[in-house]
């Protein structure tokens, strides 16, 4: 404020703005403008957990493994790997001739450094918890071989390494301490600029080891206002908007200039039920809530049909998903009967802690449940308040009278363990994990432990099929639906696909005039 040049600075800003406008003119065929629903949170892949930040980082970074379009694991910076019979030692052979965008060579030492910082508790990197619970140590066997020693067998390990948090970062950049602001990876695009209020700009990396991308530059913008996304894609001022709120699909479907992209969703939407607070301590009441829920109607109205009713706590894209898992059909009479069997002839009153963007969902439930004599009281909260309330202890929730919490979950690894253990294991009871209803079943705990370390795929599948049945029977959650991921893209942009959960895949993207 005391800077005497401030008025000049304003003028200079005005002037330079009009000049840069020429540089970033709209309709640039060599640049893809992507608009998302939130700003990036960090440029350090290990220090953030948001899908939409991951999207911004993905073109600049690479991991040892990645998912292909068929959702199978493929090598990327690693060329192959093997595991010992105990399932605890994973040895990866690294691709040679790769270098980071800052010129640092990519080798075993870089991989070790990239994971070492995650294992370092003092760094407290936001996404590192998952690695710390699985990995014991990482060692460089030779310059092109890395060995991970795990705390216990973890068959989904290559899937874990395909996630955004496992992107390999330049050790030199990490040492400088600038990664949070300036990303340096091995990916096909390199970082140009992050104007914190405006955009992130990336351009094709001339030194990239693999196939050069067809589009020269990526520009990421964001808005917290869904209708602005709709306007941006309609006016052609964004080439891609992600995620597209379902309410805009109707308008955009008929617009020949816009193509809707759909991905099989990875997230499951549910109401976690507080099993430690009456009346939901009684399993019959929990089941009644499930019977009173018209999942098909929710999908048809709230998702405009872009999704499917949830029959299992796993999403269809997850490993281990059992399509024949018994969900709950819509049956008001049965719900009423269960309630009266449980001693609640006059109905029950339930509260739900939910966030503002989900208000229409809980309101729809409120209407549906009323028909079965269930009164739903909505406790609407802003996201920061909600996460504190939802992750409360049994005592805190009893005091606040929170019977249930509305949330969703997707395991980035598309693996049953990542989806089930954090949500249903006794040890994950909130606040330690995301078992927000303190659900506990020793039989399930045993199955989850078994499943997480079983190396035989077929056996794992049977274990998880059993687990899905138990969870469903115990009605730990009111399962609602699996929304599809929806994004909208200009019709001249081809080759973009969505990874389950909202990850935009741009490696084959092209843009014509």
């Amino acid at each position: 404020m005391t800077d005497p040049r401030r008025p000049t600075a304003v003028l200079t800003a005005l002037l330079s703005l009009s000049l840069t406008a020429a540089a970033f003119a709209q309709g640039n065929a060599d640049q893809l403008t992507i608009m998302q629903s939130e700003p990036p949170r960090s440029m350090d892949p290990a220090d953030q957990t948001a899908t939409f930040t991951g999207n911004v980082l993905a073109p600049m970074y690479e991991g040892l493994t990645h998912f292909n379009k068929a959702l199978e694991i493929e090598p990327l910076l690693a060329t192959k790997w093997s595991v010992n019979t105990a399932g605890t030692e994973w040895t990866f052979t690294l691709r040679s001739g790769v270098q980071f965008q800052d010129g640092t060579p990519f080798n075993a030492a870089a991989v070790v450094a990239s994971f070492q910082r995650q294992l370092d508790e003092k760094r407290g990197l936001a996404a590192s918890g998952r690695f710390r619970s699985v990995i014991d140590k990482v060692t460089a066997v030779n310059p092109t071989t890395v060995r991970f020693t795990l705390k216990k067998p973890y068959p989904a390990f290559p899937r874990l390494l395909a996630g955004d948090a496992a992107f390999i970062v330049s050790p030199a950049a990490d040492k400088k301490g600038t990664l949070g602001r300036q990303p340096v990876g091995t990916g096909p695009y390199s970082f140009v600029e992050w104007k914190s209020g405006e955009y992130v700009l990336e351009k094709a990396n001339p030194k990239y080891w693999g196939k050069r991308p067809a589009i020269g530059a990526l520009k990421w913008t964001w808005t917290s206002e869904p209708s602005v996304m709709n306007l941006a894609i309609q006016s052609g001022q964004a080439d891609l908007v992600n995620p597209l709120p379902p309410i805009f699909t109707q308008v955009l479907k008929n617009n020949p200039k816009v193509t809707l992209l759909q991905g099989k969703g990875a997230s499951v939407f549910w109401l976690s039920l507080n099993t430690k607070l009456k009346p939901l301590t009684d399993v019959r009441v929990r089941q009644a809530l499930n019977y009173a829920t018209d999942q098909k109607a929710l999908v048809a109205t709230l998702l405009r049909g872009y999704g499917a009713p949830a029959n299992s706590p796993l999403a269809p894209a997850d490993f281990g998903y059992d399509p024949s898992a018994p969900g709950y059909p819509y049956d008001v009479a049965k719900a009423k009967k269960l309630l009266s069997d449980a001693g609640y002839k006059d109905g029950v009153t339930i509260t739900v802690a939910s966030q503002e963007p989900d208000s229409s969902i809980v309101q729809a439930l409120q209407g549906m449940w009323a028909k079965a004599g269930i009164t739903l009281k909505i406790m609407q909260m802003e996201s920061g308040v909600w996460s504190q309330a939802a992750f409360g202890t049994p005592a805190e929730k009893a005091k606040a009278g929170i019977n249930s919490s509305f949330a969703s979950w997707s395991a980035g690894t598309l693996d049953a363990d990542g989806q089930l253990s954090p949500l249903y294991a006794t040890s994950s009871a909130s606040p330690a994990g995301a078992n927000l209803g303190f659900y506990s079943n020793p039989k399930l705990d045993a199955l989850l432990a078994q499943g997480s370390s079983e190396t035989d795929s077929a056996k794992r599948k049977t274990i998880y099929a059993q687990a899905q049945r138990i969870i469903s029977q115990d009605a730990a959650h009111v399962l609602l639906y699996y929304p599809n991921d929806i994004a909208a893209v200009q019709s001249n942009v081809k080759g973009v696909w969505i990874f389950p959960g909202g990850g935009i895949q741009l490696e084959d993207a092209t843009k014509s005039k």
């Binding site: 404020m1 600075a9 304003v10 800003a13 005005l14 703005l17 009009s18 840069t20 406008a21 608009m35 939130e38 990036p40 949170r41 440029m43 953030q48 957990t49 948001a50 508790e121 407290g124 936001a126 996404a127 918890g129 710390r132 619970s133 949070g180 602001r181 992050w194 104007k195 914190s196 209020g197 405006e198 955009y199 913008t221 964001w222 808005t223 917290s224 206002e225 209708s227 602005v228 306007l231 941006a232 309609q234 006016s235 001022q237 964004a238 802003e382 996201s383 920061g384 308040v385 909600w386 996460s387 504190q388 992750f391 949330a407 954090p422 994950s428 606040p431 330690a432 994990g433 995301a434």
Partner: protein
Amino acid sequence: MTTYLFRKVAMLPIMLLAVSLLIFSAVRLLPGDPARVMAGPQATQEAVNDMHERLGLGRPFLVQYQVFLSGALRGDLGESLHSKLPVTQDIAERLPYTAALALTSYLFAMLVGLSTGIFAAIYRGSLFDHLAMILAIIGASIANFWLALMALTLFSVDLGWLPLLGAESWKSYILPSVTLGVLPAALIARMTRASMLENIHQDFVRTARAKGLGSRAVYLRHTLRNALIPIVTIVGLNFGGLLGGAVITETVFNWPGIGRLLVDAVRFRDYAVIQGVTLLTVVIVVSINVLVDLLLSAIDPRIRFS
């Protein structure tokens, strides 16, 4: 005049200290844990605890405040959790955009508001007067947010004349400035009209006319000058409101200013940024008020002695 000025300026540090404590406490009272938000909903409690430690949130309140205050005195407002930039730099990058937006929208408001008000007063009771005052009522009561979306739909999507995103050319300034300027324009128009009418029948105006001055001189040099006092007051008082409106306008228009910075910071519980932006806003509003006081005393010397 000097004592008047001195008193006004000397109060500033004391006020800022009080305000900083208030802001600091208020931010800590915000429900929700930044460590939890930062670590994400999928984090384990262990990870959240580590994050808590890293952010220094476990320390006693007064120790945290002391760290903040001593930093602030040295011009260091801490580091943003998300952009990883010093808060001062984050603000310095964004402030010019908000300043430029405030400037253009005030320019618009003054131009439209003053001219409408003056003509409405001169042609009191005419069709123009009625129309202008109806528009002013609409302008003063319309939701900023709605207007912004309507303007975007019409000019940016349907007609394709103006850009939708960001602040990349002079054209980007038109919609947000007008949207943000509508409310002050309406207030200024109404205030100008009322104030002009009050003065138009005063003795000094009659004297000026009697001296044989032309209408333009009578209206602009004599009537308007005296009518300016309440107008300047309302413009000054409204500045805080303008910054408030900027929070909404900047969010809708993807404007990279401090309003949007604040919205994102609250969303992510980025304490340092919330504190920095709020403190800065207070400094700006207080300084503008002092400036308005000084301006008023320049327009009307009697004000200094009251």
